[in-house]
């Protein structure tokens, strides 16, 4: 039987195992929406802005490991989605975006709601397609999911002209596709892996540094096993938190610009650095000239272009982190060589000395609410077991520092692009994927207003997200930099005329709370969690002058941190 392109679209998604589509209708996708409306296996989540759709799909993907799916219309539908696509691209999040397009005979005519979707998204997708013939539709969709999910994952866009969704053809969904020009490496080079194990075992001051690749590559388990077997110190990047249990004594905390003193000093002092699924981002390395001056570096990454991009590596291994780590574990078990016990003990002694500085301490006697305190209490009240999304700025760094993640895929934030407005819509995707779990969105009064409209979506789908708004009436991270580096000229970093967030939450049909005293923090969090089915917007009025410490100023090395 022949089906229309729109029906084929729906069938493909169902056959691909897609659970949710995050989208917003419009002229060019009306055929598709008509087909969507006549079935109920594929669930559509109607957002309030296309940026919200992409972040929600992104949150869903990060929390589950399955691809997020987005459907938007042509023109402004797609341009609104671009921020979310770029966010996913920077963090290698698997996502498939379907955009409507004007009918093929109008393409290039400056038709109503026409933009060059493929052209606009080209620099921020892993790949994109324009489907010109309905006969190519099913294969293209299969290819899009295949590319998004394999190798270094990322967003893939499929542009669908309106007439293609009306044309008819026979439907069959390919079980698999091969693309001759695309063959991602899975297995690491055995010789290199052997060399890496040898070097690791010969280390006197080793350091393990792991990133988002461990989370995306589902490699937390072999990483934890390997790290414990070696007894070496480990640090995670912002994207890698949860890749190794934060509550474990071998964990030194996050590294980088706002990382812990002990993690950064151990990076600087190590003689062998084992980098796993991390990309030596500038927020991690500080001044590249001063980065790990005495270290031999081993680097596992699925993307060859990540290797030796910023920092020259001694033993590169291209492959899936999971596969490579398991191979290393097996070699390690068979090896007669053991880590140098005395050297390691001296190294731990040094690290514990750095640790004793207690670099994350903060003023606990203040009469004002300290943002760090809110996050500590959130951790306690949720027993460290919540899914936490964040926006971008000071609150993001505090959440990363003070909420210890013991499991992967629990910490959901925009690391690479640093997209304000990410937190709330991402939390929607996470909550849909994990309806029984606590999902907390840590945000600030600046970020939350960038996608505040999604409160309406949360009501429609009954998403009981707990919003932790750390309200300091400033764009805090901007203010902090202005305080340190611009002689306290606070240009445009204040927030005036803020809405009454309690009333705002209530007007969207949710529960609002305003918390002004430290003593009220814990009771408010407990109360919010008790309100099981409800979204609770907690507006914490925090100390305006609090800064994120420790900090590596621009141009400095990892050993040149500013401590409180």
């Amino acid at each position: 039987m022949e089906l229309t392109g729109a029906d084929i679209f729906v069938r493909c998604l169902r056959d691909e195992g897609v659970e949710y589509v995050f989208g917003y209708p419009g002229g060019a996708v009306l055929h598709i929406y008509d087909a969507l409306g006549q079935q109920d296996t594929l669930k559509h989540i109607l957002v309030r802005h296309e940026q919200g759709a992409t972040h929600a799909a992104d949150g869903y993907a990060r929390a589950t490991g399955r691809p997020g799916v987005v459907l938007v219309t042509s023109g402004p539908g797609l341009t609104n989605a671009v921020t979310g696509i770029a966010t996913a691209y920077m963090d290698s999040i698997p996502m498939v975006i379907f955009s409507g397009q004007v009918p093929t005979h109008l393409i290039g005519n400056d038709a109503f709601q026409e933009v060059d979707n493929v052209g606009i998204t080209r620099p921020c997708v892993k790949h994109n397609f324009l489907v010109k013939d309905v006969k190519d539709l099913a294969t293209t969709i299969k290819k899009a999911f295949y590319i998004a999910m394999t190798g270094r994952q990322g967003p893939v866009l499929v542009d669908l002209p309106k007439d293609v969704t009306a044309q008819k053809t026979e439907y069959s969904y390919p079980k698999q596709v091969t693309i001759r020009s695309y063959n991602p490496t899975v297995k690491g080079h055995t010789g290199q892996i052997k060399k890496a194990v040898k070097l690791l075992l010969s280390a006197r001051r080793p350091m393990i540094y792991t990133g988002g690749g461990v989370i995306l590559g589902n490699a937390a388990e072999p990483l934890t096993e390997l790290t414990r077997a070696l007894g070496y110190p480990i640090t995670n990047t912002l994207m890698g938190l949860g890749g190794y249990p934060a509550s474990d004594k071998q964990f030194l905390g996050m590294l980088g610009m706002h990382g812990t003193y002990e993690a950064n000093m151990a990076m600087h002092g190590c003689d062998v650095l084992f980098a796993v699924g991390a990309r030596f981002d500038d927020r991690v390395t500080g001044n590249i000239e001063k980065f790990c001056p005495t270290a031999k570096i081993i680097h596992i990454d699925i993307d060859p272009s990540s290797i030796s991009k910023n920092v020259k590596v001694d033993i590169p291994i291209v492959g899936c982190v999971d596969t490579v780590l398991r191979e290393m574990l097996a070699l390690l078990k068979d090896s007669k060589q053991k880590p140098d016990h005395d050297a390691l003990q001296a190294w731990w002694h040094q690290i514990n000395d750095w640790r004793s500085k207690d670099c994350l301490k903060f003023d606990t006697t203040s009469g004002l609410i300290k943002p760090q305190y809110v996050l500590q209490k959130l951790y306690e009240v949720t027993r460290g077991d919540a899914f936490v999304t964040s926006d971008v700025g000071q609150h993001q760094m505090w959440a990363a520092q003070y909420y210890g993640f013991d499991k992967p895929r629990r910490w959901i934030n925009s690391g690479g692009l640093g997209t304000m407005g990410f937190g709330l819509p991402a939390a929607m995707g996470v909550q849909l994927a994990h309806p029984q779990d606590i999902v907390a969105c840590v945000t600030g009064e600046g970020s939350i207003q960038m996608c505040i409209q999604e409160l309406s979506t949360c009501l429609q789908y009954q998403l009981p997200i707990k919003i932790i708004n750390l309200n300091n009436r400033y764009l805090g991270m901007v203010r902090q930099w202005q305080e340190f580096f611009y002689e306290k000229r606070y240009s445009m970093s204040y927030m005036e005329s803020l809405p009454d967030f309690v009333k705002l939450a209530e007007s969207y049909g949710h529960v609002g709370m305003k918390i002004e005293k430290p003593a009220d923090v814990e009771p408010a969090l407990k109360e919010a969690i008790k309100l099981k089915g409800r979204l609770v917007f907690m507006d914490f009025i925090t100390d305006q002058n609090e800064n994120v410490f420790p900090m590596i100023p621009a141009g400095a090395g990892l050993n040149e941190m500013i401590l409180l």
Partner: protein
């Protein structure tokens, strides 16, 4: 360091702009770029001449390989290779210089392919240096127009770029 990178890529709409976009987005240099379909109509062959340090060239080849449309890549400058460029050049002629230009074009193994009362159009093939030398010899004052194809390259010997 000057490098000649040869690519086989899917002969599809947009493939060229992915390559060009990669170079502009990452700030890499393109000295010349040529592209045309091969004997297999599903594939295009592209030759890119670029400059950069060893690290940058390594990144360029890795980033190009990462593009889904790139089927295969070879850095021709890593081994023996041949490069050629074609130029069409229109030269203003007078009774006084017509003979000289014909002779010059013969010396450079060029061919006069179009003639009017006041112009010669010469076709010339060779390395970039040779074409530059011809331009120099003719003298800029007499040149009305030049069109250069950009470099095409191929490896010497049995080494070949195919799938």
């Amino acid at each position: 360091m000057r490098r000649i990178i040869s690519l086989l890529l899917e002969n599809e709409a947009g493939a060229l702009s992915r390559v060009a976009g990669l170079f502009s987005a990452r700030g890499y240099n393109i000295e010349s770029l040529t592209v045309a379909p091969t004997e297999d109509p599903s594939l295009s062959r592209m030759t890119i001449v670029t400059r950069g340090s060893e690290e940058i060239i390594e990144q360029i080849t890795k980033q190009l390989n990462k593009l889904i449309d790139v089927v295969k890549l070879m850095d021709l400058t890593e081994g023996g290779h041949i490069e050629r460029e074609m130029m069409l050049i229109k030269i203003g002629t007078t009774d006084g210089n017509r003979e000289d230009i014909k002779r010059l074009s013969d010396i450079f193994r060029g061919r006069v392919i179009d003639v009017t009362g006041s112009t010669y159009t010469v076709e010339l093939t060779g390395t970039g240096d040779k074409l530059d030398a011809f331009i120099e010899a003719v003298g800029r004052a007499q040149i009305l127009e030049t069109v250069r194809s950009g470099v095409s390259g191929i490896a010497r010997g049995e080494k070949s770029l195919h799938i």
